[in-house]
């Protein structure tokens, strides 16, 4: 394929990236020597990897792309580089290089040595490291070493793809950088409006609407989608996630909800302003901008309910959660209290034989009410503080009415809660999990423990020092 044809095809495939494509093409397609090292940098979802990948795939240059995220260790990266370079050359020349000398690649200098040998006699080879900043356990010498590869291996030209420019780490001045700036609003709209989703999932029946042809429908789709994209960008994506992927996800999540009145026939396909007013609530919530594993569409398909009943359903779902054993709930509540109450107040809150609780608490609330110089932060908003195990057990026995035998089951429950990461051991890793000296912390929040307490008839806020004003 001629370079010009490649360019037009790529431009079509990746709109709004003409400048970068042009540059890459002029650097790598001409017969002139390519730059020994190029840094392509840009934020996420700016088309760095895809453009370089497609460009090289369309070209006739032997190349290989290594995704550093897939390399678990530094050694893994080196081995992988050698074998993929060999694979690429095998494929390019349609012959099999003897691989026996390259069976081991222990470090960077061996890699240089190997590449030197492999690429001997080749004119040009492009090696792309994608996501060079994502490399796990990268040694300090890795980047500077790579930067100087071209001094040893003239045929090699490296492209490093990274999020931020890394000129300092390279320790080599004068490396060419190719920036991929984030897409602007207009570019985002141009890109996304190329493939408008359908308004009607099933084409309206021909008998009823004989003049609504698929062409007409496609035109409507494009028109409404374009308008809709603008609205989504201005209302949500501008402030939450401006990159292409987040924007696309948000728009797609909202789309079906947005066109629902059109589908059921309340509005026409071109009543954009009325649709906006009617569906304004979907632009107000945060559901669309959050990435969730269980998509809301799935949930809605299951229930097919209106907005208000959906909330009720959500509440029921929370209730559907698996119930913890009775004493486990008390243990968690005690652990929460042990984390958030200072230990000196324990005797006032949990001693059974004195009834000084009320007086003492009044003092505490007064202290909070007197506006001291610096505002006190409510306790439950702070991080939990560690506590020893015996304190939880003591509070546990203080909370529960009646005696609880000292069964081993209590310890079993603590161990279970630990493996569920509701209780976390702080420090002293290793050794016996139930050792008396160990310190613990809770790993859940106020809302949850309040619900838990109400489940067993305890208002946790009453026992929390300083009280809670929610």
């Amino acid at each position: 394929m001629l370079p010009d044809e490649i360019l037009t095809q790529l431009d079509k495939q990746y709109p709004c990236r003409e400048f970068q494509i042009q540059q890459l093409a002029s650097l790598y397609f001409s017969n002139l020597p390519s730059p020994p090292l190029l840094i392509a940098h840009g934020l996420t979802a700016t088309g760095k990897t895809s453009i370089i990948k497609s460009l090289l795939a369309l070209s006739t240059i032997p190349h290989t792309i290594i995704n550093l995220q897939e390399c678990i260790t530094g050694r893994h990266l080196l081995e992988r580089t050698v074998s993929s370079v060999l694979d690429a050359l095998d494929e390019y020349n349609d012959e099999r290089i003897d691989r026996r000398p390259y069976s081991r690649t222990e470090n960077l200098s061996v890699l240089a040595n190997h590449l030197q040998k492999i690429l001997e006699g080749h004119k040009k080879f492009v090696l792309v490291f994608d996501g060079i900043d994502k490399q796990r356990e990268a040694p300090y010498t890795f980047l500077p070493g790579l930067a100087r590869f071209s001094e040893l291996i003239p045929a090699l030209s490296l492209i490093l793809i990274t999020t931020l420019p890394i000129s300092l780490e390279l320790r080599k001045p004068g490396t060419p950088h190719l920036p991929f700036p984030p897409y602007s609003r207009s570019s985002l709209l141009t890109i996304l409006s190329q493939n408008p989703p359908k308004i009607f999932l099933t084409q309206p029946s021909e008998e009823q609407y004989p003049d609504y042809t698929p062409d007409l429908a496609a035109e409507d789709d494009a028109w409404l989608w374009g308008r809709f994209l603008g609205a989504v960008y201005d209302s949500l994506s501008k402030h939450t996630g401006r990159d292409l992927v987040s924007f696309r996800n948000t728009s797609l999540r909202l789309w079906r909800d947005f066109v629902a009145p059109v589908v059921d026939g309340t509005f026409g396909t071109r009543d954009f302003s009325r649709l906006m007013v009617n569906r304004r609530h979907i632009f107000q919530g945060e559901e669309a901008v959050l990435d969730r594993i269980i998509s809301s569409q799935n949930a809605e398909n299951e229930s097919a309910q209106t907005h208000s009943t959906a909330i009720i359903k959500k509440k029921r779902d929370v209730g559907m959660q698996h119930d913890l054993p009775y004493y486990s709930k008390y243990l968690l509540i005690s652990a929460y209290l042990a984390s958030y109450n200072p230990s000196r107040t324990d005797s006032t809150y949990f001693m059974k034989h004195t009834d000084r609780r009320k007086n003492k608490r009044k003092v505490n609330t007064n202290a909070g009410a007197t506006k001291s110089k610096h505002r006190r932060i409510a306790r439950h908003l702070l991080t939990p503080s560690p506590f020893p195990l015996d304190r939880v057990l003591a509070i546990f026995r203080g909370l529960i009415d009646g005696p609880v035998p000292q069964l081993a089951d209590i310890y079993t429950q603590i161990a279970t809660l630990t493996s569920m990461r509701l209780l976390v051991r702080v420090g002293g890793v290793g050794g016996d999990a139930l050792e008396a000296g160990a310190r613990w912390r809770v790993n859940f929040g106020w809302e949850w423990v309040r619900g838990l307490g109400r489940g067993v008839g305890i208002e946790v806020g009453e026992y929390l020092v300083g009280g809670v004003d929610v």
Binding site: R100, I293, H322, D323, A408
Partner: protein, 670 residues
């Protein structure tokens, strides 16, 4: 022998008889143990089958849903991957039952869909490298099992060129190309125990391989899907797309298991009410764990057959010849046998009593007959329990009472005259005809073998009455509240309230009669069925209700035992010197020099605050245990050893807060 590190101790042989000997020849407690073990195995085999069937039935719906999800995920073509199909399996807080569940799931997935299934848990995946290594090892070992040729090829590749490192997913790719599975299901059993960063790394890595390997992820979650999602940071949630699956709640499963095993109509050995209550309470309060339930059941069965000689009689078609005379002697010592003999004497059947005591043959026939009839009575009891549950369901009574609690009450003989039964019977009286029809049909479904009430006759009568009912309103009985109305009359400035029955139509009258009849018949049925099973002759054989081995095995009290041993060593030592001088109870309070040094120190330790001044402790100890002035070094040695022992037990810890002080770590009674 000091120079040897270890040696075999051979006691000196003497010809003299030992001063104190146990009788070992005569009463052989292990008699017929083999037979009893055999009976136990047969009985338990049936129970285990039931348990297995119940568990599989309980999981079936969830498993099917997951399998549908997995097989649906393959149909999307994975050339252009958007996200990894992910199933969030909310398996509840009973962590111990996750393992068997995921194993069953794996078996089913492999059987019913063309996919590979790898189960990984946190134990063998401390970091990304080991996680991948394990995953690949699991995949490769499967191939090795399939065909041997591959093994050599992988090993030899190192000589021919670069070899893949053992955590490279390239191995999996190679394997996948050969095995041609539609998808690779990776199940992470305990997602909570994984480090959040590790999870994110795994997800990102799998996502980047998704164009080559068709991954499906399953996460086992003990808490909730929301908390799982909250733990994932960055872009990870974007890479996952899936559904949530709820595994059946464990209390429901326990309830089902209970009705299938303990309250079932055809079991030969029943677990008594006290033990069942204890097992159920433990499930509710402490652990929710299906395995534990079946373990405690199994243990109860074992204890019954291993330790109870007359349990031999539970053997199917037993003959007199098989039995040694000892077993009859044992039976004659049972409390229920004595009770029966006394009853017979009271009613003047001395001849029969004589025969029971003298003739083993006669006793044998008696026992066989009574075991048989006792089984029938007990299964009638279970049936009656199920009938009550059905009645309450059909009448839609508000308070849901599970079968387990009804059965426990019935088995402890509290059912007759209980408010629950009364309430149920009253609401039968009040039931309108449509409810009654439902009730009848639900009782007909019950495969009650022994249900004396002739449901068909009632059904026929009811249909006859309903036949000429033209209106849609059901027939009402005379006890229905809607037939009552309240009248107020004012006589001499006093308000009189009087209840009046509304006039009943002919058909309603006939219906009331029918209902009344049904009620009476059911009432007599319950009266015959709900007896106190513990009063039965040979109830010791038919029912196991001892709680002590169960509590000792399943609910030990380790901390309490240590604390008790230290606080009142007399309980364990049983010597004359310590305490007990003034009549037992006060032994707890008295501190004396004759007690072990550790116990004395422990008592002093209990009296102190959270920081203990060691020097004070020493002077207190010396005052108590020190004998003479010059023996101080000996006392000091005792003191130091006691302190070291407390430290070893984890009760005491050196403290940096204050000089010469030790920190108290454990309080008594927690």
């Amino acid at each position: 022998m000091e120079y040897e590190r270890c040696y075999i101790y051979t006691p000196p042989e003497t010809d003299e008889r030992a001063p104190k000997r146990r009788r070992i020849n005569k009463a052989n407690s292990q008699a017929q143990l083999q037979e009893r073990i055999q009976i136990y195995r047969e009985t338990w085999f049936h129970q285990q089958e039931r348990i297995q069937a119940t568990l599989e039935e309980a999981d079936r719906v969830t498993l099917e849903k997951i399998i549908n999800f997995v097989s649906a995920s393959a149909q999307t073509d994975y050339a252009e991957p958007v996200s990894i199909p992910t199933g969030l399996v909310i398996a509840g807080p009973s962590i111990a039952s996750h393992g068997p569940f995921f194993e069953r799931l794996g078996r089913k997935i492999k059987d019913e869909t063309n996919s590979a299934y790898f189960l990984l848990n946190s134990g063998d995946s401390s970091n990304l490298k080991t996680f991948l290594k394990n995953l690949i090892k699991k995949a490769m070992s499967r191939v090795d099992a399939d065909d041997e040729d591959d093994l050599g090829r992988i090993g030899s590749s190192s000589r021919n060129g670069p070899k893949l490192l053992d955590f490279d997913l390239g191995h999996l790719q190679e394997w996948h190309a050969r095995s041609r599975a539609d998808r690779i299901v990776v199940a992470i059993q305990d997602s909570e125990a994984f480090d959040a960063n590790l999870l994110v790394e795994i997800i990102e890595l799998f996502y980047s391989w998704l164009d080559r390997l068709p991954f499906v992820l399953l996460f086992g979650i003990a808490t909730s899907a929301e908390s799982f999602e909250d733990r994932l940071t960055g872009k990870a949630p974007r890479y996952l797309q899936g559904q949530k699956f709820n595994v059946t709640q464990s209390d429901e499963i326990i309830e089902k298991l209970f009705s299938a095993t303990i309250a079932s109509t055809d079991v030969s050995l029943r677990i008594g009410p006290n033990l069942s209550r204890r097992i159920l309470e433990r499930q509710k309060d402490h652990v929710q764990n299906v395995q534990d339930f079946s373990d405690s059941l199994k243990y109860a069965y074992m204890s019954h057959f291993y330790a109870n000689y007359p349990s031999l009689f539970l053997k199917q078609d037993i003959t007199f010849k098989d039995l040694p005379p000892d077993v009859f002697e044992a039976t004659r010592n049972l409390p229920s046998f004595r009770r029966r003999v006394e009853d017979m004497l009271d009613s003047g059947r001395a001849q029969e009593v004589r025969k029971l005591l003298d003739s083993d043959q006669y006793l044998f026939e008696n026992i066989v007959e009574h075991v048989q009839s006792g089984q029938e009575v007990l299964s009638a009891l279970s049936t009656a329990g199920m009938v009550i549950v059905r009645v309450r369901q059909a009448l839609q009574m508000s308070a849901q009472v599970p079968l387990s609690s009804i059965w426990i009450r019935a088995a402890s003989g509290e059912m007759m005259g209980s408010p629950l039964l009364r309430e149920t019977m009253l609401s039968i009286k009040k039931a309108p005809s449509d409810r009654l029809a439902q009730l009848l049909s639900s009782l007909e479904d019950l495969e009650g073998i022994d249900f004396p009430v002739d449901l068909k006759a009632y059904r026929k009568d009811l249909d006859e009455l309903n036949k000429d009912n033209t209106t849609s309103t059901p027939l009402r009985s005379q006890h229905d509240v809607r037939n009552d109305n309240l009248r107020t009359t004012v006589v001499a400035q006093k308000v009189l309230l009087s209840k009046h029955k509304a006039a009943l139509s002919e058909r309603d009258k006939a219906y009331s009669e029918l209902v009344g009849h049904f009620h009476d018949e059911l009432d007599t049925y319950f009266t015959t069925a709900f007896i106190d099973p513990r009063a039965l002759f040979l109830s010791e054989i038919l029912m196991y209700d001892l709680k002590s081995p169960h509590t000792e095995v399943f609910q030990p009290k380790p901390r309490f035992a240590i604390e008790r041993a230290l606080a009142s060593p007399h309980d364990y030592l049983g010597c004359d010197c310590c305490g007990d001088a003034d009549g037992g109870r006060d032994a707890d309070a008295a501190l004396s020099a004759t007690q072990p040094a550790t116990a004395i120190i422990y008592r002093l330790y209990l009296e102190s605050g959270s920081l203990i001044n060691v020097s004070d402790l020493w002077s207190a100890f010396n005052a108590l245990a020190g004998e003479e002035e010059d023996a101080e070094s000996k006392t000091m040695a005792l003191f130091q050893r006691a302190i070291a022992e407390l430290k070893y037990l984890g009760l005491l810890k050196p403290s940096k807060k204050k000089i010469d002080h030790a920190a108290k770590v454990m309080w008594k009674g927690l």
